[in-house]
Subunit: 233 residues, 3 copies
Amino acid sequence: LTTDFGTRDGYVGAMKGVLAREAPDAVVVDVAHDVPRHDIAHAAWVVATACREFPSGSVHVVVVDPGVGGARRGVVVACGGSWYVGPDNGVFAYLGEVSAWQLPVAEHVVSPTFHGRDVFAPAAARLARGESVGGDRVALAGVLPWGARRAGTGRVVHVDRYGNLVSDLPAAEAGARVSIAGRTLAVQTTYENVGVGEVVAYVGSAGTVEIAVREGRADTTLRLARGADVLPG
Amino acid sequence: LTTDFGTRDGYVGAMKGVLAREAPDAVVVDVAHDVPRHDIAHAAWVVATACREFPSGSVHVVVVDPGVGGARRGVVVACGGSWYVGPDNGVFAYLGEVSAWQLPVAEHVVSPTFHGRDVFAPAAARLARGESVGGDRVALAGVLPWGARRAGTGRVVHVDRYGNLVSDLPAAEAGARVSIAGRTLAVQTTYENVGVGEVVAYVGSAGTVEIAVREGRADTTLRLARGADVLPG
Amino acid sequence: LTTDFGTRDGYVGAMKGVLAREAPDAVVVDVAHDVPRHDIAHAAWVVATACREFPSGSVHVVVVDPGVGGARRGVVVACGGSWYVGPDNGVFAYLGEVSAWQLPVAEHVVSPTFHGRDVFAPAAARLARGESVGGDRVALAGVLPWGARRAGTGRVVHVDRYGNLVSDLPAAEAGARVSIAGRTLAVQTTYENVGVGEVVAYVGSAGTVEIAVREGRADTTLRLARGADVLPG
């Protein structure tokens, strides 16, 4: 489960109740519930980097859904032998090669504001039980503001809790140096190669270049946000 | 488990340790741990709306307990085929029809400040194992500041993470329009019926009227809090 | 699992994915993920007080690790019949009598910044499957700023979500009164022995003296932090 519901209200609990009721043998795992409100791009990165560690056959439910009840459709996505259920608004944009099906919505049983409980959790329960959820084959329509990456270029795609700037520039394309906001940085192997408070580039846990400030925050120190260019050289 | 313990200290972990030790076959589910500190009414709404989604036979533990170690008693509550364990301070006020029993406290083994670990978790473990927890039958004494709802009227009973104002006015009593703080609002079927930043009323996931600001916060925009009237028409 | 990863990024989820893949029969329990960033002493207290409630044979993973990828080593610690896995930086300082082994790191497969996913979770999975993780026997090197406690003295070692000041002074050494920052306080049996807003000392859930302000925060009221003396009398 990945949501922006936080853990102060009952929304996550209600989804878990549905899953306990409709798929009692499924093991339910919290991936992240404090995704910033309505931040589709943040959720997309969390889903892509965390969910790929799970074993094949997992069912992932993603609910970061500012347009709930409106025109955006719900989808079931197959990727790498696992299932993903959620809104087609961009939260699956970093998964890579996928197949997707539109999720049928039984209008009469559904809250217009809580598809997590009434649409996505029941669909995930059916998948966890080994059943099909039906629906037409579709191409995903949800996109992120910065579009797809061009080879040889990168952008900051995620800012984590520590203020680290995570790019989508793969290590193999970066080489020994990267430039960001007019600075050129050597790609280091560990934070400890620079002093406390200094800026450091390194290959992060996603296999892409990240920019950090040792024991500090790169986002505020460099005044950079998502979308900033991270280029080889 | 629903608590105001947060997830920075070891309190939730200690309760889970007790449950792992004393009811090793039980599946432990986090409902919400970031209930605002000592906010009994907040917890009461979370419990009522989230726990009712769980299958019959579940055991729910609620620890939002500013009077721990004092005069308030612990209780076991039966409602809808499931069990609820916690302090009798109002956290079960929205459950509806219940039966309740006072929880015996073995004074000599108990921390005066952590009944979650020393009283409520052990009682829940016994219930999960199918055992009885004994104690005298009692009527719940805990009440919320605004008392019981009168038919044809409603109040804001919960403000969620998004700043949405959740009332206890059922959709069937509200009809097509509601009034709140001098405004009259049509009850819409989705947020997308109004523009970004506009106020919208709709039937929320609890089946009651909610007031939101599309992609904004109704609590700060309308300067309203719990207890505010939400009336039909 | 105890970390400072928070629940907005995918780091906790990635660790859970590794555990689901490599130890599918293990039950994974969240102890605390909102440990303040890089706060080793905070984590040490959470681990010592929460993990001791779990049944013997448990495997605890602790990732609060400002020096990840640098000189500090990873360790496996045996204590009280359970296992602890994490960095040797002080997070195990409150466990008491332990045995420890250095965790071998396969340099070529490991992210320099995410040993939680690439070193500690896989080691925990092997322990959960009943396998050995090898490595040389070592003495723990990680220490906290205030060193070990001397009998008859205590310090504030933890400040919890509520602003309560938790000391390491055992109840048996404290007796009927304690002094802190020039105040002498009777050790009470419950918060309710003092008025709202007053300072109260009592024996907390760890069996040590705590200082609180009833329905307030002792840390801000008394302007005290970790390391402050809490003395008998």
